[in-house]
Point group: C2
């Protein structure tokens, strides 16, 4: 088995095909597939098709219900609380963001909080949905506990990501999208697989001390032995670890405490040996610049700021200053042309799904 | 000259008295005084009365206009863009937040972006104004450029703080309030004064390299020689410095690009040797949980989450896990009883103002 390349359209069809064998409607299956493959195109492979088997498992073990529709539980012209009914996170997320966009198109603003959902893919997908309407989009989600609070021993909070997308004129849109931990779990997994020492400041061991031992951290997280990822800013307060810890709690507040979903240590899909719906929460917010300075001037000034940042002097030894989203848009252009590379472990997983569900998969090489 | 203690009420009266000698109305002078002293009470001395002389200077040199009223430039039931008319930041900020609160009380949500303002004190003051109405409050501001973008050499962005306050039931409200740089400038100033080496990761030198030399960083910032504070997450991308950089730009976007104010490197009060209004921007947002899960359940679950965090196991050698705002509320209780301590430099400044404007000041010791 080795790394393979695949055309993104073939990858969408494959994911769609698998999900449709599991009672997911064609429309819903496309939403999930588009979200996963878009993540691969943008270089966020950790949230791409490598996760397809987890969604399949979720449906099989019934903590994800494939054939329900999200339901509006409470609504005003600008706000809504949505019950995901434990369906597919991407379907619920797309519903929530579309609702927020429609509200913003009518009233200049929309905010939708969501309860009873599942993993919704990468946060940036939803924030970027606002761009084609010339709106600012925000997306947040909580997630399973992996992050320790400042001075704490146990992982009580998710890596809770936040994404913000803003329209521009000549530059690519500004798209910020990140986990509020120092690094996402995927980075620890890579160091674990390579048996390589991590930089000190990413994670703590089972006693709560900073460690460079990725194998230990991965084992501890898997067996709930204590320790976990550090919030953005690292251990203690010296480098602002309490700030990342605050952002993580804030996202739990917007996504889950506000909507009435599970938060912090309660976002789990197994409880007392039983499979349970994790009841993940999301929050979507959409703002129309036309109600403030006006969309035209907003886009022009986003461009001006981006240019000022990119064209400013570089630190010694550095060749380029990036703005948020730039790397991902460049990756997307390349991968749309050349195909998406998939690592051997992902190829193996997809081939197993192909066989199990009798859905063909066509690689380039 | 040495450290002195003063009753907070006397401190409010003193600040009010000084400002009223500069054509500030009694009502507006109280707003500024209350904001400054509240910062001292909460232990955020960097944003307290130590800054009174800067506001006095701003009025004297006319980049702050003491006798204007903020004006609503554009408005909808939930949104507004406000022209601060280069008045006192605290007066404009209080106006903006009250407007957002009134909108949220009627429609469940309010968002106000502000242009043509000045330094508004500490961000948490405004977010906490929402608490007595059982609403969630958010406050952000941009500020003068002190922070370098990831891989950049020059300070192009402010330390742009964000504050979020959420109501609780039995615990103190949850109040997150921080600069999006690794540390605020005040910390560098302290190390500079003590001629002490800083931790590596707070700031860069004039070439853009990480340095522990606070004296050099302070001199470089003052003379615009290059380098500056690092965004939350530190230098490069290893510890997520690009995340802090993103947050800082996001806050400029909400506060200034959206409102039509100065952003990034343009927030300066001196240009080509001339004094100019910095045209600082703010953003206020207020959300009513009643439109989501309901205020009662929201407050109960905030308490539950806070308790889960506080009562969880501590990392080895640590005695306590804090939640956001807790330290500040404890400090406030103590200082309301015992008085506010003022360092010798601040005492000196206040005595000079007392003499210049003939306003008496009464210390405890």
């Amino acid at each position: 088995m080795s790394e393979k390349l695949i055309q993104w359209k073939n990858l969408v069809d494959f994911c769609k095909g698998i999900l449709m064998k599991l009672s997911v409607t064609e429309k819903d299956a496309f939403m999930v597939a588009d979200n996963l493959v878009s993540s691969n195109l943008r270089g966020i492979d950790s949230h791409g098709v490598a996760r397809l088997d987890r969604y399949v498992d979720g449906i099989k073990t019934k903590y994800i219900i494939p054939d329900v529709k999200p339901k509006i539980a409470k609504e005003s012209p600008v706000l809504a609380n949505v019950d995901g009914q434990n369906g597919l996170g991407q379907v619920i997320g797309t519903f929530g963001m579309e609702l927020a966009i429609n509200k913003a198109r009518k009233s200049g603003f929309g905010m939708v909080s969501v309860f009873n959902s599942n993993h919704y893919g990468y946060a940036g997908y939803y924030s970027m949905m606002a761009l084609k309407h010339n709106l600012i989009g925000i997306s947040m989600t909580n997630s399973a506990p992996l992050v320790v609070p400042t001075f704490g021993k146990n992982a009580l909070m998710g890596t809770n990501p936040i994404a913000v997308a803003a329209p521009t004129k000549k530059n690519k849109p500004w798209v910020m999208d990140f986990a509020t931990s120092t690094v996402p779990r995927g980075k620890i997994e890579v160091y674990n697989r390579l048996n390589k020492k991590m930089p000190l400041g990413w994670a703590t061991d089972e006693k709560g001390n900073v460690t460079d031992d990725a194998v230990r951290v991965e084992r501890n997280l898997k067996d709930l032995l204590g320790g976990g990822l550090l919030p953005l800013g690292g251990a203690g307060e010296t480098y602002g670890g309490h700030k990342g810890y605050g952002l993580t709690v804030m996202i739990d507040m917007f996504c889950a405490i506000l909507s009435g979903s599970n938060y912090g240590p309660n976002v789990v899909s197994k409880k007392e040996g039983k499979i349970v719906p994790p009841r993940v929460g999301h929050m979507f917010m959409v703002i129309d610049p036309e109600y403030f300075i006006g969309i035209n001037e907003f886009r022009t000034n986003m461009d001006n700021y981006i240019d000022e940042l990119k064209n400013s002097e570089k630190a010694e030894g550095e060749g380029r200053i990036y703005v948020h989203g730039e790397k991902e848009f460049e990756m997307q252009e390349r991968r749309e042309k050349e195909g998406c590379p998939l690592d051997d472990k992902t190829v193996e997983k997809l081939l197993a799904l192909s066989k199990e569900f009798n859905v063909p998969i066509n690689f380039i090489n």
